[in-house]
């Protein structure tokens, strides 16, 4: 990590970049926060470890409007989001200096906390850390394997390659050890009643905090239609239970074909709703109906849902 800090310090000092978007040390063992560092001196608080799960690409929407270049630390999966934002003209590539940071999967603190209350320190979570992490709590210490504490999304890792970068720091690892669409298939296999019950159970927990939307790099609208008084979609609570489901379904439609499957929605949901399932179902269907497509892989590629082509079948025709 010191190597990364040194490199960032050099970039700031020689004027290559005017600021750095990275993670700042938290006040606990596991809560670093996304941060914009503006001085070399402030980088002393920079941290990069297993808890730096946040996808920083969305912060570049605002940062790329600022004077000068911004260095941004992106993990392999974050670079897909960045590419998608380029495609949608939401970030200016030239104003970004992308440090592709290595990744060996990110940790799910909720998994660690299960049975480990009163955590005082966690060690071994750095990129070059051990296969086991050591958890110290006021109720006792424990070792668990890094792999067992991974975020669910890391088990379907899209790969260790950065899709876009100016330089790469650190080794990455493809942590995929599960079938990407296995969860979706499990739901597809349910009867309609079971599906309905499953989603009702999950979505009834929704508190409409909008964290999923606000963290989502595809939800980059200046003004979300759900916040816009111009439309009657604006709701902060669910008058009827129909709406709590509609919010997430409409959101899934809005990001369809643009969602890179970064998994931030599920990571931030305070109620642990597996929101990524909606998006992943869409991805699976798009793959099936339009051919394999990974949003954010190539910003120049045609997108199956939002690019008109003359090969598109006219309505009412066979095919």
């Amino acid at each position: 990590m010191q190597g990364l800090i040194d490199r960032l310090t050099a970039l700031l000092s020689d004027g290559t970049v005017a600021r750095v978007i990275g993670w700042k040390k938290g006040d606990m063992a596991y809560n670093p926060e996304p941060h914009m560092f503006e001085t070399a001196e402030s980088l002393k608080d920079f941290v990069y470890d297993g808890f730096c799960g946040a996808n920083l690409s969305k912060m570049m929407i605002e940062a790329s409007k600022l004077e000068g270049k911004t260095a941004v630390c992106l993990k392999p999966c974050d670079t897909y989001s960045f590419n998608q934002l380029i495609r949608e003209h939401r970030v200016v590539r030239e104003n970004a200096y992308i440090i592709g940071v290595g990744c060996r999967g990110k940790l799910d603190i909720e998994k660690i906390k299960k049975g480990n209350k009163g955590i005082t320190s966690i060690s071994g979570t750095e990129l070059d850390g051990s296969d086991d992490i050591k958890i110290e709590t006021i109720y006792g210490d424990k070792n668990i394997s890094y792999k067992d504490a991974l975020l669910d999304r890391c088990h379907v890792c899209k790969g260790k390659d950065h899709m876009i970068f100016d330089e790469v720091w650190g080794e990455s690892k493809d942590t995929a050890d599960q079938e990407r669409f296995a969860e979706v298939e499990k739901i597809e296999a349910m009867t309609p009643e079971e599906k309905f019950a499953f989603f009702r159970n999950e979505l009834s927990k929704c508190i409409r905090c909008n964290a999923c939307r606000n963290v989502c790099p595809a939800c980059s609208c200046r003004k979300c239609i759900f916040d816009n008084t111009k439309f009657d979609a604006q709701q902060k609570a669910n008058v009827v239970s129909f709406e709590e489901r509609m919010f997430h379904i409409i959101r899934a439609f809005h990001v369809a074909g643009r969602c890179t499957d970064c998994g931030e929605c599920s990571r931030v949901c305070p109620e642990g709703i597996p929101l990524h399932l909606f998006n992943r179902k869409f991805i699976k269907d798009i793959d099936k109906f339009y051919g394999e497509f990974q949003a954010g892989k190539d910003p120049e590629a045609q997108s199956p849902l939002t690019d008109f082509t003359f090969e598109d079948i006219e309505p009412g025709e066979r095919g």
């Binding site: 949608e88 003209h89 609208c221 239609i225 816009n228 111009k230 439309f231 009657d232 939002t306 008109f308």
Partner: protein
Amino acid sequence: MQRIGVFVCHCGTNIAATVDVKKVVELVRFEPGVVFADDYMYMCSEAGQEKIIAAIKEHDLTGLVICSCSPRMHEKTFRACAEKAGLNPYMVEVANIREQCSWIHKDREEATEKAVILARAAIAKVNLNTPLQEGESPVTKRALIIGGGIAGIQTALDIADAGYEVDIVEREPSIGGRMSQFDKTFPTLDCASCILTPKMVEVNQHPNITLYTYSEVEGVSGYVGNFDVKIRKKARSVDMSACTGCGECQAKCPLGKMGKIPSEFDRGLRTRPAIYMPFAQAVPAVPVIDRENCTYFKTGKCGVCAKICPSKAVNYEQEDEIVTVKYGAIVVATGFDIINLDKFGEYAYNESPDVITSIELERLMNASGPTGGHLERMSDHKQPKDIVFIQCVGSRCDDEKGKPYCSKVCCMYTAKHAMLIKDHWPDTNITVFYIDVRTPGKNFDEFYRRAVEQYHVNYVKGQVGKVIPQPDGSLLVQGVDLLDNKQIMKKTDMVVLAAAVEPNKGVRKIATMLTASIDNNDFLTEAHAKLRPVESPTAGIFLSGMAQGPKDIPETVSQAGAAAVKVVGLLAKDKLKTNPCTAKCDPMFCNGCSTCANVCPYGAITYEDQQVRGPGVNETRRVAVVNNALCQGCGACTSACPSGAMDLQGFSNRQITTEVDSICR
């Protein structure tokens, strides 16, 4: 809130027999905004319209809802009526209580309830309507015809005769198209070139017509009244102004004698030199050098044509030239070809030279054709004594290898071929295998009956399963006679296949450039199959000839005329009214993400950096801008826009959700 008048039409008994019109009036009277409601026997009639106008004035109405037939029928009528009374025409909504209600319901109560619901939705929408103003755009008084076959020629002549300038772009070295390949035409049996050549000459000499032969349309931008078209004039390697068309070069071209280059015009039944005119009557009568095959272009050696050309017209240095021309209207007359028969191996087309297509037969019977008009087998140059015609090869075909449609012309030209052959060689035995014989057309059935009754052509209802070339040079035809319900095994000398027609391969590219829609078979789609058959849904694009669907020559010529009239009607206008129901971007909410531009089929959306001011916002940012003249109001952008910044005027998101809400209420 609007002051809305609701007018419910009986449409005689069309509506009133199923919908309780009086009850609809009573129920909608209490909808928000409604201040007046009435019914009448025929709302679209003079008297009905007077009623509307009177009510607008008396009740100070600001919006109208007409519950009547489909808006396709009378929306224009009622809008004009509102305008007469001083109301903006876009403050009128039509609730379709006929096609979508009275005609499809039997139960009076149900139909009445639905009529009320439809009226409510329209009322809810009118409450949110705002007056819209039509814009204006100028018209370039010049038309472009893509394709120089009989369809293009006729359209061009009609437009040019009306006094407007017309350009024809033809891909081949000469105009004339398919018709120039034909021998005789049905049902009159007059000679195709005798009636076509004068038209070709007329085109060439018409002061209002410019020909771009051996040229292709490369790009189209703009919109109705104002198209910019890029035309690539491919290098002929022959100076058009110097060439006298003497033909020396063709005669002396060494490749001509080697017989290696099949003639496209003669469907490969003979060969041509590398410098050539496709046929004798070609217009313009200027040869081109086929650079792919020309020895000079391949090796830098030869140069015979340049040396012998008396007028020094051959120019190897010539380059493709691109011109950009402005047009007000574009006619697509790209014509047809016959399908590739590779998938129909059972007919042995690729195996035996004596299995030919009808178009090849046309060339074989043509006096200027490869055999000088003498019908002979290509294998042994013997005159066939027995000929089998197979109909519907690839037409009316359910599976993937053929086409689902009827090619329309085959029944007639086969009868023509049979009679022509019998005329020349009466003892030829002719059998025609057919599914149905289709002869709807003036004098068509009489023509067909002549073949059967006078010429004793043997028509067999049934399909041919296989054609097997025999060692003795004959062909064995295995078929079935459905009427007699028996297998047929028949030896014959020649098999003629009535291969299905299909749109010219180039039409897909052209349609893409023009944003004109095509159907699954690549035929161009009409704006309305019945009421607007020669117009494309894209404004300013017109359809002529086979590009729109199978048709024979008289039909092609009449459609060409119809397209010409539509073009003239457009060019006669100095300004065009633009549809105000176009998309509009609210820069406050626009993300600048380009999604709308990516889904727009008309290229109507561009992006520009704009100063955006609003509550809490004052910055320059990338926002979508809609070109109102290009926008067709299809709404693709409004549904693709994630933030709801794009709205279709007259059909805004709010208006539509309000309609839905009021229906679901």
